[in-house]
C-alpha cells in the first residue's frame, strides 16, 4: 500500500492569496493512500525542504506530491532533495497550482476547487510512479564548431585552450567571417581586421584546433557526448599540403569575377585567396568561373605553380568524425534589399550601396584603398544619405525585428565620412536611434557633434536626377516632406540568418523560429544551449547582435562545452520511452514522428507459435531520446511507454478528474 505525502506551498501570497491552501490540504487528506498532507509558506526554501524530509521519516512516506509552481521551476530542486532520503527521486509528482491555477484565476472558491483537482490528479498519478534510475554514457572529448566567423573562432579558441580538440568547419575558403570585412568597429574605432586577424592566426596555429575550410556539415548522427558527423569537403583544386601560398597563380589567372569579400566592389581571379590576411592563406579555384574547369581551356595556374600544387581533378571528399559537443556559429547574411525595395532603385543605381559595401569602400585594404568614392564614377561624394531600417522593422517587405547593430554602424559610417571628406554632409534617416551598449550613446552624441544630421522618418523613394540621387522622405518631427540631393546612399540593411540555416538545423535536430534564427533552450536562463543536448549556439545565428555580444556569447557557449567535455561520462534522464518489443508490430510510425531520430527498427529473434522467426521491432536509443512522448502517442499497439508518464499514469489522472 502506497503511503503518499502531500505538501502544499503558499508561495508567499502567490498561491495563498487566490487558493485556500488549508482547504486543499484538508481535501488531500481524504484522498486514497494519502498518509499526510500539510501546507508551508515556501516549500522550496531550506526549512521547507527540511520539513518535507522530516515528514517522510515521521509518516513513513514512500512517495510525495508537491503542489506548488510549475515543474519547470522546481521539480529538479525537489528531486535533488529526495536524493538524501529513502525515496527514489522519481517518486515525486508536482501539481502546478501556481501558473496553471492561482496566477490565472481571481475567483478564490473556484481556484481552490481547481487546485484540489490538480492535487487529486497528482495523487492518482504518483500512486503508479515507479523508481527510476539514471544511466551513464561515455563522452567523446572533442568539439565541432560550425562556422568560422568571430563567434566560431572565439568559441574554438576557448575550448582548445581548455585542452580539448576542436574542429572548425567553414564553408568559405578562409575563416574570419564578416568581422574581418569591417573597417573599424564601434564605439572604440578599433581596426576590425587588426583585432580579428590575430585570433584567426591563433585558431590556425593552435595545436588543438583543426581548420576545415571549404567544408560543410553533411550529416549528423548520434547524441550528446557521441555525435558522428560527416563533413563534406568541397574540391579546392589546389593541394594545400604542397601549396605555400606564394600567390603567383592568382596574379596570372586571366578570369575576373566580382569579389565576394569586397561585396562586389572590385574583382578577384578564378583561383584566389579571398583576402590578404586569409587563414589558411592558400588559394582555391572557383569551379563556376575557372576556364579550365568550365571550358577546358587556359590551365595557366598549373603551368606557373612552382610546386605543382594545382589539381584540376580534385573531388569532393567526405570524412566522418566523432564529437562530444557541437557549437553552431553559422552567423548572418544581409537581406537582398534590391529584391525587396524597388522604390530605392532595386539595385539599378550603383551609388546606392549597403553598409557592408561601404565597409569595404572605406577600408584601406579594400578595392579603393580606403578612399570613399562613388562606385559609379569614382568621384568623392559630398552629400551622403544613410537610410536605416532597410528590411528591418518592416513586416510588409522585410523582417519584423530590429537588426540591432545598424544604428551604431550607421553612426560610425557618418563619423567616417565627415572625418575623411572635408565639407561633406551626412543625412541619416532613422525611425528610432537605439544605442544599448557601453559607450554607444556617447558615440552617437559625438557623431551628431561631428555634424551628422539625423532626420526622423523612412525614405520613401530614391531616384536619379542628373548626377544626383534624390531621396524623398518625411521629417516626422516637423510633419513636412524633405528632399535630399545625395551623391551616394548607404542602406543599413537587415541581418538575416545564413541561407542554409534550416538545412543545418534539420541535420542537428535543433529548432529555428519563424525568422529562421536558431532557438535557444531558454531565452533568459539557457541562452547558449539548444533544445538538443550537446548542441550549443553562439553569435548571430541566434539573432542579430554586435561583436561584443557575439564574443561574449561564444565564450559562454565554450564554457558550456567545456563543462560537458570535462566529464568522462554523463548521466542521462531516465524519463525516456521504452518499447515493449513483445507487443511491437514494427510498423515504424514512431520512427517517423521522433524529432530526435532516437528510434530505429531492429531485427530481433522471436517466436511465431513454435517457429523461431526474426521480428522487426522499434528500438529506442537512450542517449538520443529526450522524453518528448511523441512515439508513445503515435504507437498503434500501445507498446511504447514514456517512463514517468506511462499510459497507465495518464489514465489514472483522467480517472481522478472524472470521478
Amino acid at each position: 500500500m502506497a503511503r503518499i505525502g502531500v505538501f502544499i506551498c503558499h508561495c508567499g501570497t502567490n498561491i495563498a492569496a487566490t487558493v485556500d491552501v488549508e482547504a486543499v490540504a484538508a481535501a488531500a487528506r481524504e484522498f486514497p493512500n494519502v498518509a499526510f498532507a500539510t501546507t508551508y509558506k515556501y516549500m522550496c526554501s531550506e526549512p521547507g525542504q527540511a520539513m518535507i524530509k522530516e515528514s517522510i521519516e515521521d509518516y513513513n512516506l514512500d512517495r510525495i506530491v508537491i503542489a506548488s509552481c510549475s515543474p519547470r521551476m522546481h521539480e529538479l530542486t525537489f528531486r535533488k532533495m529526495l536524493k538524501g532520503t529513502k525515496i527514489n527521486p522519481y517518486m515525486l509528482e508536482i501539481a502546478n497550482i501556481r501558473e496553471q491555477c492561482a496566477w490565472v484565476h481571481t475567483d478564490r472558491a473556484k481556484a481552490t476547487e481547481k487546485a484540489i483537482d490538480h492535487v487529486k490528479m497528482a495523487v492518482a498519478k504518483v500512486g503508479k510512479d515507479k523508481p527510476l534510475t539514471t544511466s551513464t554514457i561515455p563522452i567523446t572529448k572533442r568539439a565541432l564548431v560550425i562556422g568560422g566567423g568571430i563567434a566560431g573562432i572565439q568559441a574554438a579558441l576557448d575550448i582548445a585552450d581548455a585542452g580539448f580538440d576542436v574542429t572548425i568547419v567553414e564553408k568559405e575558403p578562409s575563416i574570419g567571417g564578416h568581422m574581418v570585412m569591417l573597417d573599424k568597429t564601434f564605439p572604440t574605432m578599433d581596426c576590425s581586421a587588426c583585432i580579428s586577424t590575430p585570433k584567426m592566426v591563433d585558431a590556425g596555429a593552435h595545436p588543438n584546433i583543426t581548420l576545415k575550410t571549404s567544408c560543410e556539415v553533411e550529416k549528423v548522427e548520434g547524441y550528446v557526448g557521441n555525435f558522428e558527423v560527416t563533413i563534406k569537403e568541397k574540391a579546392k583544386y589546389v593541394n594545400h599540403d604542397l601549396c605555400t601560398g606564394c600567390g603567383l597563380c592568382q596574379t596570372k589567372c586571366p578570369t575576373k569575377v566580382p569579389s565576394e569579400f569586397n561585396q562586389g566592389i572590385g574583382t578577384r581571379p578564378a583561383i584566389y585567396i579571398p583576402f590578404a590576411q586569409a587563414v589558411p592563406s592558400k588559394p582555391v579555384i572557383d569551379p563556376t568561373c575557372c576556364l579550365k574547369l568550365t571550358k577546358d581551356k587556359c590551365g595557366i595556374c598549373e603551368k606557373v605553380c612552382p610546386l605543382q600544387a594545382i589539381n584540376y581533378k580534385d573531388e569532393t571528399k567526405y570524412t566522418t568524425e566523432k564529437y562530444g559537443a557541437i557549437v553552431v556559429a553559422t552567423g548572418y547574411e544581409l537581406v537582398d534589399w534590391a529584391k525587396m525595395y524597388p522604390e530605392y532603385g532595386g539595385g539599378k543605381y550603383a551609388d546606392v550601396i549597403t553598409g557592408l559595401q561601404f565597409e569595404r569602400l572605406v577600408n584601406a585594404s579594400g578595392p579603393t584603398e580606403g578612399h570613399i568614392v562613388r562606385p559609379s564614377d569614382g568621384k568623392e561624394p559630398k552629400d551622403v544619405v544613410i537610410v536605416k531600417c532597410v528590411g528591418s522593422r518592416d513586416q510588409n517587405k522585410g523582417k519584423s525585428y530590429c537588426s540591432r547593430a545598424c544604428c551604431m554602424y550607421s553612426a560610425k559610417h557618418a563619423h567616417q565620412i565627415l572625418d575623411k571628406i572635408p565639407g561633406s554632409n551626412v543625412y541619416i534617416f532613422y525611425m528610432d536611434v537605439r544605442t544599448p551598449g557601453k559607450g554607444y550613446e556617447e558615440f552617437y552624441d559625438n557623431t551628431r557633434a561631428d555634424g551628422a544630421q539625423y532626420i526622423r522618418g523612412r525614405v520613401s523613394k530614391i531616384f536619379k536626377e542628373g548626377d544626383k540621387l534624390i531621396c524623398k522622405g518625411e521629417d516626422t518631427l516637423l510633419g513636412k516632406q524633405v528632399t535630399v540631393e545625395a551623391d551616394m546612399v548607404i542602406l543599413a540593411t537587415a541581418m538575416e540568418p545564413a541561407a542554409n540555416i534550416a538545412d543545418v538545423a534539420g541535420k542537428l535536430g535543433i529548432s529555428i523560429d519563424s525568422d529562421r534564427w536558431v532557438t535557444e533552450a531558454h531565452p533568459k536562463l539557457r541562452p547558449v544551449e539548444t533544445q538538443t543536448g550537446g548542441v550549443f549556439l553562439c553569435g548571430t545565428c541566434q539573432g542579430p547582435k554586435d561583436i561584443p555580444d557575439t564574443v561574449a556569447q561564444a565564450g559562454a557557449a565554450a564554457a558550456k562545452v567545456m563543462a560537458l567535455l570535462n566529464h568522462d561520462e554523463m548521466e542521462t534522464s531516465p524519463m525516456i520511452s521504452s518499447v515493449d518489443q513483445t507487443k511491437c508490430s514494427g510498423c515504424g510510425y514512431c520512427v517517423e514522428v521522433c524529432p530526435y531520430k532516437a528510434i530505429s527498427l531492429i531485427q530481433v529473434p522471436g517466436r511465431d507459435g513454435n517457429r523461431k522467426v526474426t521480428k522487426t521491432v522499434a528500438d529506442v536509443n537512450s542517449g538520443l531520446c529526450q522524453g518528448c512522448g511523441c512515439c508513445a502517442a503515435t504507437c498503434r499497439t500501445g507498446c511504447i511507454d514514456l517512463k514517468g508518464y506511462t499510459n497507465e499514469q495518464i489514465l489514472k489522472e483522467v480517472d481522478a478528474l472524472c470521478q
Partner: protein, 186 residues
Amino acid sequence: MEKILNRKEGKLLAERIAREADVKLHECYQCGKCSAGCPMADAMDLMPRQIVHLMQLGDMTEVMKSKSIWLCASCHTCVERCPHSIDIPTLMEKSRMEAQRRGICAVRDVRLFNDIFMETVRGFGKSQEVILEGAYNVTSGHFFQDMKNVPKMLQKEIVRPELNQVNAVNEVRDIMKECEKGGANR
C-alpha cells in the same frame, strides 16, 4: 514658400545664434520635454522642440516666420527640464531679434506691446503701467482688454493713476542706448 534665407545662410545664422546662446544644437535629440511643459505651447504654431529642430536643419526662415518666437514667455521651464539644458528662450529671443531686424513679425501685438513698453521706459525712465495699457489698447485695437480688472488693481494699488517718474531719466536713456547698441552688435 518664400525663402528669406537659403539653407547655407540659414545654417550660418542658426550656428551664430546658437553660439551666442551658448547652445550646442546637435545635442538636442528631440525628446519633446520642452514642448510638453511649455505654458505657451497651446498658442504656438511650432513647438519649442520644432524650433530647435529647424535650427539644426538651418531653416531659419521658418523659425523667423513662426509665432512661437514671439509667444515665448521666457519662463525657462524648458531649460530647467531639458536633459541637455538647451537654452531655448535665448534661441527664441535671438531669433526674434533677427526677425525684428528683417521686419518679420508673426504676432504683431507682441511687438507692439514691446515697442510701447520700451518707449514708456525711454520717456519716463521707468515702466508706466497706465500709459502702457492705454497706448497698447488703443493702438492694438483691443480697447477693452483687461479693463474690468482696472478697479481692482487700483484698489489694491497694483497700478497707480499718477505717474511714477524717476529723476535720472537721461541716465536711463543712455543705458538703454548702450544696451541696444550692444544687442545689435552682439
